[in-house]
């Protein structure tokens, strides 16, 4: 069965407190060199063969992402 990945990230203007918390935590772990982090969501979908691109884009835009505050990408594996 085909697998589709949808990645959702907060829009660039939108505050991402989670990403910021990670950036601040890394040096305390002795892990350096990370300038910025944005945290989003990652969905792995198992879909039937006949699911078309339009349906996938609706799934992403209407349910998986909140278009008011998030951007998303869809990719077939």
């Amino acid at each position: 069965m085909p697998r589709v990945v949808v990645d959702v990230v907060p829009k660039p203007e939108i505050l991402d407190p989670q990403g910021q918390a990670i950036v601040r935590a890394l040096p305390r772990l002795g892990l350096h060199g990370v300038r910025d982090v944005r945290q989003g969501k990652h969905f792995e979908l198992d879909v039937e063969d006949d699911v078309d691109a339009e349906t996938l884009h609706r799934i992403a835009g209407e349910l998986l992402a909140n278009p008011v505050i998030e951007d998303w990408t869809v990719r077939r594996l």
Binding site: P17, Q18, A21, I22, A25, R28, L29, Q39
Partner: protein, 230 residues
Amino acid sequence: MSAVCRIGVITFPGTLDDVDAARAVRRAGAQPVPLWHADDDLHGVDAVVVPGGFSYGDYLRAGAIAAHQPVLRAVLDAARRGTLVLGICNGFQILCEAGLLPGALVRNAGLHFVCRDQRLRVENPATAWTGRYAPGADIVVPLKSIEGRYVADASTLSELEGDGRVVFRYLDGNPNGAMHDIAGIASADGRVLGLMPHPEHAIDPLTGPSTDGLDLFHSAVDTVLGSVRG
């Protein structure tokens, strides 16, 4: 002068129930010692409480960032030397993230935050933190969490069950989907305990559903003073 039990209460940025934990410690006749997340020593306390809340906002994963703070390294060292450690809710999550207790706590199966007066069974009254409870005691303690579902792999679970390390179990319906209805577990030596419900909110009928939580703190005081005397 009789011996005083000193119990440290850790505050991370975002810790919420430290005041309550300190109050419970005091009610149990012990002396609460405030510990700050950036401290790297525990000021010689006899026991440590890692209280509830949302340390670092619980961003990323509940307890993930707190588990890497300096004070936690001190807690790990102390636990190795036998100091009593109690993790309540976020504290439990932190202890699991830090590897002091096995397994993990993940998003409630119902996906909502759940705040309710929860019935629990005390499965093991033989730990350092549960000596005052009768075996199989049925207690009511508030539960309030959104990442409270205990999960672990099959071999960890059978080890926990086999060694009596499942200390508290949910009654009246599992509120979050925790495996084996697990509400709290202990380390192999019974000196480190983690649980999702909040015993520190059940110490006074005026502000909680019962006084059932107080015995947890009394038990620790018994253990500490007993071993001092013994």
